[in-house]
């Protein structure tokens, strides 16, 4: 779909140095919206979670959600930010049907939190990402453009607007430009969002479901010739809505921009859209003809002045943050930092931790999440956390294996059922009849049949060539379609032949 010329990624780095930056929007998980009492539940019938305030009806006024302010401050504290002692909301004025008031209530030059940082690790190396600001605003409604090929407003027959999302509290976390990551820039971008997501989960401020749009990233990318004192012109890629896409978007923009710069073509400072299907970006509106948002302090809201004592208490009450948790877990689980890094990169720390908490051994939990489950996520092109299986279910699966109810092969079949929505592991084992056969009549019959059906092999075993017994075990496993326990089968064969 994209006709952009691209430079090979490794070649980009021989000539250019990337600088990246990320703006991350997080929908908070508060029960009610930012400025009214409407529900924030995802997936309601369009326009059923609205009121005069979030519809921006004439005369309506906002009242700030205290829980959202608290969540924002906690995010700021977790990122080591300075918390403002006094700040105001501002109006960002522009016309678009998904903002019902004709302006978005946001924060401008007085954000709640400033000057923080987040350390992320890629391949054993730590990169410090400076946080410029964390501020609070309201989400927009959602447009649905009907008809036309692109799903965009241009060419559509008509457009529908759902204001259920309008007014949901949205926290924007903006990094300072991140230079110096070189070839690791795409991975640093991904690692940053991954770590940020872990922090948000630990704080419990958002469900951070990327597929539901709880967390949305805009990725800024620019290239400068190696050795240049100035940074290049950046593009802002919007709609980057999965961890994998963050990495792909940076990679693609680096390759695209390098091709332009090689041809002495100026990079336009513009907004670009990311396409999940092709991994490419395409131009949106150009920032060089950008609207003047005419920011000014929101006169309908009073200033926010967080009490120092309260902020101190919020700081003291922060939960254990992911980095500290990882350090502790490495020790508790007895694993090397490198393996912990794999878990982090796979987005599996929380999942493994929760699986252990649900009763599995650390080794089993790691084995499942980094092995079978990682493979399935990869095949499906989704993140681990997006798989339709919970840590508790994985722990249950592990428990069934260690109890001998099923073996590893049956466990994979049970997992198939869980992922297919057939219920929990025990339920699937029951409904699919996956339990291991004990020394039942069925197994005795199968063992006897294997000996009868393979007289030559049986003779060899009797003659002392014990290793030949494997072929007989295989035959039994085949007749029982994997439901037998190999060790049991082997023992039974030995009892009969040796």
């Amino acid at each position: 779909m994209s006709t952009d010329r691209l430079v090979d990624f490794d070649e980009v780095l021989t000539r250019y140095e990337p600088v990246i930056g990320l703006e991350t929007h997080v929908e908070l998980g508060t029960a009610s919206k930012m400025f009214c009492g409407c529900s924030t539940t995802f997936g309601g019938e369009p326009n059923t979670q609205t009121c005069p305030v979030c519809l921006g009806l004439p005369g309506s006024l906002p009242v700030a959600n205290a829980a959202a302010i608290e969540s924002t401050i906690r995010i700021g504290l977790a990122l080591g930010c300075r918390i403002a002692t006094w700040c105001r909301f501002a109006r960002k004025n522009y016309f678009y049907p998904d903002i019902p008031k004709g302006f978005q209530t946001t924060q401008y030059d007085e954000p709640l939190c400033t000057a923080g940082h987040l350390d992320v690790e890629v391949d054993g190396e730590t990169y410090r990402v400076e946080i410029e600001r964390v501020h609070l605003e309201e989400d927009t409604g959602k447009n649905l453009h009907v008809g036309g090929a692109t799903g965009r407003i241009h060419g559509a027959d008509h457009s529908l607007i759902d204001y259920n999302r309008a007014g949901i509290p949205l926290v924007e976390i903006v990094t300072r430009p991140i230079p110096g990551a070189g070839a690791k820039a795409p991975e640093v971008a991904k690692a940053y969002v991954t770590e940020l997501r872990e922090i948000l989960l630990a704080l419990g401020v958002s469900e951070v479901r990327m597929e539901q749009g709880n967390l949305r990233c805009d990725v800024n990318t620019s290239l400068a010739p190696i050795g240049s004192l100035e940074w290049g012109t950046r593009t802002e890629t919007k709609n980057v809505n999965s961890l994998r896409s963050v990495e792909r978007a940076v990679r693609f923009e680096m390759r695209r921009q390098a091709a332009l710069l090689d041809g002495d073509v100026r990079i336009l400072q513009e907004t670009r859209h990311f396409h999940e299907d092709t991994g490419t970006t395409s131009p949106g509106r150009s920032k060089e003809e950008a609207t003047d948002y005419r920011y000014f302090p929101e006169p309908d809201l009073v200033p926010v002045a967080p009490d120092e004592e309260w902020v101190g208490k919020l700081l003291a009450d922060l939960p254990e943050l992911p980095a500290a948790r990882r350090a502790r877990l490495s020790e508790e689980w007895g694993i090397a930092p490198t393996e912990m890094a794999w878990l982090v990169n796979a987005g599996a720390v929380g999942l493994v931790g929760d699986t252990v908490a649900a009763g599995a051994s650390p080794a089993d939990a790691r084995k499942w999440w980094l092995g079978e489950l990682a493979r399935r996520a990869n095949d499906a092109g989704v993140e681990l956390a997006e798989l339709a299986v919970t840590p508790a279910q994985v722990a249950e699966l592990v428990g069934l294996v260690s109890a001998g109810t099923i073996n590893d092969q049956l466990a994979r079949q049970a997992l198939d059922g869980v992922l297919a929505g057939e219920g929990g592991p025990a339920q699937v084992v029951e409904s699919r009849g996956l339990a291991v056969l004990g020394e039942s009549d069925e197994l005795v019959t199968a063992v006897d049949a294997a000996i009868e059906g393979n007289p030559d092999v049986a003779e060899k075993v009797r003659g002392g060539k014990v290793q030949a017994i494997g072929a007989l075990v295989g035959a039994v496993m085949k007749t029982t379609r994997g439901k037998a326990d190999a060790a049991t089968v082997k023992r039974m064969l030995e009892e009969r032949l040796c």
């Binding site: 519809l55 004439p58 309506s60 049907p97 302006f103 457009s159 000014f296 309908d300 809201l301």
Partner: protein, 511 residues
Amino acid sequence: MSIPVSTDVTSMTVDQIQAALADGATAVDITQAYLDRIASADGELGAYLHVDPEAAVAVADAIDAAGTRGTGLNGVPVALKDVVVTEGVPTTSGSRILEGWRPPYDATVAARLKAAGTVLLGKTNMDEFAMGSSTENSAYRITRNPWDPDRIPGGSSGGSSAAVAAGLAPWAIGTDTGGSIRQPAALTGLVGHKPTYGSVSRYGLIAFSSSLDQAGPMARTVLDAALLHEAIGGHDALDSTSIDAPVPVLAECARRGAAGDLSGIRVGVVRELGGEGHTDGYEDGVLSRVAEATALLEGMGAEVRVVSCPAFDLALAAYYLIAPSEASSNLARFDGVRYGLRVGDDGSRDLDEVMALTREQGFGAEVKRRIILGTYALSSGYYEAYYGQAQKVRTLISRDFSAAFADVDVLVSPTTPTVAFPLGARTGDPLAMYAADLCTLPASLAGLPAISVPCGLSEGLPVGLQIMAPALADDRCYQVAAALEAAQDDARGHRFLDQLSRRAATPEGAA
């Protein structure tokens, strides 16, 4: 005091209506009297944009049936400026862009009056989005001044002022951003009070300038104004800028003030508002009535002195940056997407064109002028020079007030520099129109309470005295205004507005 009690319901004060209701008059009778008067007189007067007689009678009937009439405000009719959002009742803010809109909710002011058992007579005319000083900017109709039908009734609450002065409502709600309650009250011989910013909920007032807008009472007497203010005032959780303080005791202050003892009260006459060296644009008749009123206050024991508030000279310039700036943002929601007018949506135009056409045809000239002014003032590169500077002036004005209130209890000035001017006299000259708010703007910018109370006639037209007080000291406004009103009524032998009904009773002005 021996003021004769009128037998004509529509010239009664509200405390007289309350007495009549307690005495056995029905809410339906009272309501019907006003509806009849509206039916006979409003075609010419133009005070109302929407009247639903059946609905009003139904409400009155329910109150009669409930047996609550005669207690509190039960059964007392009221009119609301059309900027107040009313559930199921058309609300236009005087603009074509909201034609036909029936809101799904009630403003807090409307809800409180409903809960108090008042009967809504109708919605009154106003300058479009409250932008204007003559009500001539209404998209719908001209409103005439009951004292002289060729003159303006003031604005932007000109429908409310005309309705109350002409007996088409016993009282009414107005809103005041730069003087829109006080100025029309002054020009029609009413008492009008702009409460302390934040003391009456703004929830459901269609916003013009959020940091300035306040709803308040417009009434025939100071006591009535106080009663209406008490009914709508007090904290509202739906308005973040609402002050969390108890509903003020005002009617009692009005009654106390009427006793006429002002000893110990220090009154400051603001030099910059019509005083020495600042009389340009002020009519002599206005200044004379104000001087006489001030002398009357002194005669009741008040200590009068002249005070200077130099920053007041900058109020007009600051106001016409701040109010349009906020308005340009507040009016952005009128884009034809969700409610009200939509123009040009015929499938041939894109979204931006439909929005632009809707706003082009939906807004009047003055509204467009202010949107453009405000958009410019907030623009990147101009913000500091205009909006930023204007906010600094606002601070200076507040400081002048603080300094003055260190020495005096209230400040007084004319409410308006002139009496009501003829219809059409200033429509071609926006700056001349803006000058009508010269005296009322300082208190607006500082968020302070200010009342206008009649203080005589000049050339046969009403003159108002403005009394300003520190934040949350609205009671002082009522107390001093009530003293002045009582003294003048005593001297005159009848109420101020009775002059109007007597004159109306003698056609051609022949006596």
